[in-house]
Structures are given as structure tokens and as C-alpha cells.
């Protein structure tokens, strides 16, 4: 029986660096391993002994890729510990800044990272030579998302305006004018994005996933909701640790998150969409129908369409929030620190981001736990690669490697978040 090992030293177009190893024996996939090398749990160690008020900015800066998600999970978890509720316009502004992060993150992935796979280009630069208008549209969409973050976050690189209890400063109603104009353009561009991506050709690869995402009583989820699944889960976020566990695997320094007694699960846009289609705005649902894209999608390669729909939703939601905006009396709710443990899950662009803080007197952080979406998706990524390779053993080597990389990119994995430097390799021996 001959053994084959597929090797790719560097996986392009993922945030950070990664290594994937695939071993084949005959027509059987013997092993699939996503390798991560960085010492884990730095986040938590770095937070220990610091004040609660530092958590939003520290966690956001350690992972610069989706700072708003880190800030949101941090403030919600700490507010949970302090028994606070942030409501009204402050809550809406949090949703608004999250819209900005979804727009910029998804636009980058759809146009610059994932799009080239479907049009047959090695990268966005080559794609731009033949399709400059498509790449320009993607860049402008991303810029519109960044504009929201800059507007509310104070800065787009390391936003500084978010705090426990609300914001340091809230905007005046009239200050939204130029943002609104750009968002109206973005909403139309997002509609075009949906119609464009839905028309791409996708590998046939339907999988039976356990989707896990937040679900809220009347909103598409950003900051709040219960954690639910299509395979029998409906829990309050503060029982997260009873249902999910992070396992150490020998080939990786990052921890793999699993659903206890169940196994791998999928977090992210595909999970949110399948579990919350009915919570999308009328315009978003209507556009999905126009694109002949149903409310259930189990093909991860089609996540590019789902991300496009989420961009559209975020633009639509941002405009709705701005339209109903009234300046709040105070930019934040007064904070009264107390010794307690707090929990939060919010929906980062890549999936649910769990934070837990145990706080001592005066809100000093005694310990912290952070589970980023990429940790949660690692097992399902390996599973996808295993199934994909098994199905396409007859593919020429280069094509197989290329499509395995694409299968990983379906998840927009942020390796700098799960860890930092990760070598992604696929090996094949014969």
C-alpha cells in the first residue's frame, strides 16, 4: 500500500500563518493536522492583575484584526460581573460600531482573500489587473466599514472610545451626515456583491454541520443572545464552560474547542445565517431570494455569499440605527466594581468570541478566559479537509493543494488571534 503526504509550507491569504499536514495511505486519508506553534494563553496571563477598565483596550490591541469584537466581548463580560445593563442608544451605538467591523472584515475577505479563488487568480493584485472595478468596489466597501469604526471608535487602527458602561464620548446627530452618504453607497454595493458572489461556481461540498451561534429574540446577533445550535443546544452564555471545553492536541499549541459530548462544531457567518435567517432585515432576505440563495446553506465554499449578505445586513442595520439615533444624556453608565465573575459571547466577524473574567475587589482581574472563533473552528476545518481530500483523491496534486487551501480560507481563519505564527502545510508522499 503506498503512502502519500501532501506538503504546502505556507498558506496564503489567511490572517497570520499556518501549517497543514495531510497524510494519505492508498485511498484513505490517514491524518489531517492544522499546526499551531505559539505558546497559548498569553492573553489571559497578560490581563491578570490589571484593572477591569484596561481589558477592552488590551485585548483589542493584542489582536489588531478585529478589535471591536474583543472590546465588545470584554465590556459585556465585565458588565455582567458588575450586574450592569447598558441599554437604549448606547446599546445601539455598540451594534453600530460592530456593523463597521463586520463590513470591513467581510469586505476584505470576500474581495481580497476569498474572491480570487473563485475567479482563478493567485491573489487580489492579479485579479485587479483584469477586474479593477471589482477590487475597487471591495476596497471602498471596506473603507466604509472602517469609517464607522473611526467615527465611533475614535481611531480605526486601535479604537479607544469604547469603555465599560458605554463610550468615552458619543456623537452628535448632525455628525453622521457624511457617514450616511457613504453607507447608502455601501448598501447598494453590498447588494451588487451578493448578486456577484451568488453567481460564482462552487465545488459541491454539502456537510452536516453542528452550527453554533448567538440567537436573539428579535435581532440578527451582534452583542447579545442565547447560544444555540441546529443540533440541540440552547444555553445562556454564562453556562458556556459547562458545554464547551478546550482540548490540547499534540500537534498544535492552540487549544481546540469542542462541544462536550458532541464534538466539532462550526461557528461564524455560516452558523449565524443558518440559525438566524429570519432575523435578517427585509432587504437582506429579499436580496438572498433575488440571488436564488436559500435560508439554509451547508456548503462552506458558499460562505462568500453569506459574508456578502452579512455585509448588506450590516450596512442596512447601520443606516437604521443612525436614522433612529438620539444623543444619549450621558456617554456611559456609571460603573460600580464588585468581586464577581462575568461572561459574554458576542459575534465577531469570524464567529462567537467568548470572554470570561473573574474580578476581585475594585475590579482587579484575577483571571480571564478568551475563546476566539478560530479556536472553535479548527476541528471542523480539519474535518472539512479530510472529507474534501477523500472525495477528490483523483485530483492532480496542485489542484488538490489549491482547493484544500481554499477549504481552509472558507473559514477566514484568523491565526493571529488563535495564536500568532502558525505554519500551514499540506504534505503528500508517494
Amino acid at each position: 500500500m503506498n503512502a502519500k503526504t501532501i506538503k504546502v509550507d505556507f498558506l496564503a491569504r489567511v490572517e497570520g500563518e499556518g501549517g497543514l499536514f495531510v497524510k494519505l495511505r492508498g485511498d484513505k486519508v490517514e491524518d489531517v493536522r492544522l499546526n499551531i506553534f505559539e505558546p497559548p494563553r498569553f492573553f489571559e496571563a497578560f490581563l491578570r492583575g490589571r484593572s477591569f477598565s484596561e481589558a477592552p483596550d488590551i485585548t483589542a490591541r493584542i489582536c489588531g484584526i478585529c478589535p471591536i469584537a474583543y472590546q465588545m466581548s470584554a465590556v459585556h463580560a465585565i458588565e455582567d460581573a458588575f450586574g450592569m445593563k447598558v441599554d437604549g442608544q448606547l446599546r445601539s451605538l455598540r451594534r453600530l460600531v460592530y456593523c463597521g467591523e463586520w463590513i470591513e472584515s467581510h469586505a476584505l475577505h470576500v474581495y481580497m482573500l476569498h474572491g480570487p479563488d473563485f475567479l482563478g487568480y493567485p491573489d487580489a493584485i492579479q485579479m485587479a489587473k483584469d477586474h479593477p472595478e471589482i477590487v475597487q468596489r471591495g476596497l471602498r466597501l471596506k473603507k466604509a466599514g472602517n469609517a464607522i469604526i473611526r467615527f465611533l471608535g475614535g481611531r480605526e487602527i486601535h479604537p479607544v472610545n469604547v469603555r465599560v458602561g458605554g463610550f468615552y464620548k458619543t456623537p452628535k446627530k448632525r455628525e453622521f451626515t457624511s457617514l450616511v452618504e457613504e453607507l447608502k453607497w455601501a448598501r447598494e454595493a453590498a447588494r451588487e456583491t451578493v448578486l456577484w458572489t451568488a453567481g460564482l461556481t462552487f465545488p459541491e461540498f454539502e456537510q452536516d454541520y453542528a452550527f453554533v451561534a448567538l440567537r436573539h429574540s428579535d435581532e440578527y446577533p451582534f452583542n447579545e443572545g442565547r447560544l444555540v445550535s441546529n443540533q440541540g443546544l440552547d444555553i445562556s452564555v454564562n453556562t458556556y464552560d459547562d458545554h464547551f471545553v478546550e482540548e490540547h492536541v499534540p500537534h498544535s499549541n492552540a487549544l481546540h474547542s469542542v462541544w462536550k459530548g458532541h464534538g466539532p462544531y462550526l461557528a461564524g457567518p455560516l452558523a449565524r445565517y443558518n440559525l438566524n435567517f429570519d432575523r435578517l432585515s427585509a432587504l437582506t432576505q429579499e436580496t438572498a431570494r433575488e440571488a436564488s440563495f436559500g435560508p439554509i446553506c451547508r456548503n462552506p465554499f458558499q460562505s462568500i455569499v453569506v459574508r456578502s449578505l452579512e455585509i448588506l445586513y450590516a450596512c442596512d442595520e447601520a443606516l437604521r440605527i443612525i436614522q433612529q439615533y438620539e444623543e444619549p444624556e450621558h456617554p456611559f453608565v456609571e460603573v460600580e466594581p464588585r468581586a464577581a465573575t462575568g461572561y459574554a459571547c458576542t459575534e465577531a466577524p469570524r464567529g462567537s468570541l467568548y470572554h470570561r473574567y473573574r474580578l476581585g475587589e475594585k475590579g482587579v482581574i484575577l483571571d480571564a478566559k478568551i475563546v476566539p472563533p478560530t479556536s472553535q473552528n479548527q476541528k471542523v476545518i480539519e474535518q472539512d479537509v479530510r472529507h474534501f481530500v477523500t472525495k477528490h483523491l483523483n485530483f492532480p496534486k496542485e489542484k488538490l493543494i489549491g482547493q484544500c487551501e481554499q477549504a481552509i480560507r472558507n473559514y477566514d481563519p484568523c491565526i493571529s488571534c488563535a495564536t500568532h505564527f502558525l505554519k500551514l502545510k499540506i504534505e503528500r508522499e508517494s
Partner: protein
């Protein structure tokens, strides 16, 4: 314009940010100095209206730590391998090449890559990187002196 790229919680990855901080103190007020996380699309926006741009970033190639690599990106593409260890999937090299494709590259774009020793989580610079940082800052101040001294038209 000066753009320092990095992450201050990743050891030598903070080099670009530290260069920017120092240059902000040393250069005349007219010089725009930016501290940046390295997102390529945002970089393209940042230098969109600038004629002369200096970028400082940490690199991870096989050269000894503290080695300074200097590239004239306005003349030639950057060797992609030098900046491969980016936290960004669409980072500096991509931003330069995409801007070149669109004809939006600044007239003069000089990139300094300082070879780092450690990119592990932490806030300490390695001794080699710190030494190289001094030399790069001095080099940029020198390079900008003729521009600063040039009589205003």
C-alpha cells in the same frame, strides 16, 4: 509621511511603532507620522495623498537579528518573503503592489525592514532590534533633512 507598522504586544513586532514615536519627536511638525497596525487596505488610504513615504516594519527572514533591509518600493516590488510573517492576510507587500497596479503608489516609497529576534507575546524589544532601531531613526532623519531645509515655494 512616516508610517511605523507593528504590534506593541508582540516583542520586536513593536519596532515600527517605536520608530514612529521617536520620529514624531525628532521631525518638524509638518511631517505626518502615523502608527499603524499593518492592514494593507488602510495603508493604501493612509499614503494616498503623500509624495514621499517612509515605512518602518519588523521583518522575519533568515538574516541575523538587527539586520536593516532598505527597499525602494517605488522602483521595484518588495521581496514578498521578507514581510511574510504578517498578522495581516492583506498586508504591506500587497498594499504596495495593488497601489502600483492602480497607479496610486507615492512617487517615493522607502521601506525599512528591521530583522527581529522574537515575535512572541511580550512587550520587550531584543537588544539587536533596539540597536537597529536607533540606526533606522537616524537614517530617516538624515534622509528628510534636505526636504526640511528646502526653501518653501
Amino acid at each position: 509621511m512616516i508610517i511605523g507598522i507593528g504590534n506593541e504586544y508582540r516583542g520586536d513586532d513593536a519596532l515600527g511603532l517605536m520608530a514612529a514615536r521617536r520620529l514624531r519627536r525628532l521631525l518638524p511638525k509638518e511631517a505626518a507620522v502615523l502608527m499603524h497596525g499593518g492592514d494593507g487596505a488602510q495603508l493604501m488610504g493612509a499614503w494616498a495623498d503623500a509624495d514621499v513615504v517612509f515605512v518602518v516594519d519588523a521583518v522575519c527572514s533568515s538574516a541575523p537579528p538587527g539586520t536593516i533591509h532598505r527597499f525602494d518600493a517605488s522602483a521595484d516590488p518588495l521581496p514578498a518573503d521578507f514581510f511574510r510573517h504578517s498578522t495581516h492576510a492583506f498586508g504591506l507587500v500587497d498594499a504596495i503592489e495593488l497601489a502600483r497596479t492602480f497607479g496610486d503608489l507615492p512617487a517615493r516609497l522607502i521601506v525599512y525592514g528591521i530583522e527581529g529576534r522574537t515575535f512572541e507575546a511580550g512587550t520587550e524589544l531584543s537588544a539587536e532590534a533596539a540597536g537597529a532601531l536607533d540606526r533606522v531613526v537616524k537614517d530617516i532623519v538624515e534622509a528628510l533633512r534636505p526636504l526640511a531645509d528646502r526653501p518653501k515655494e
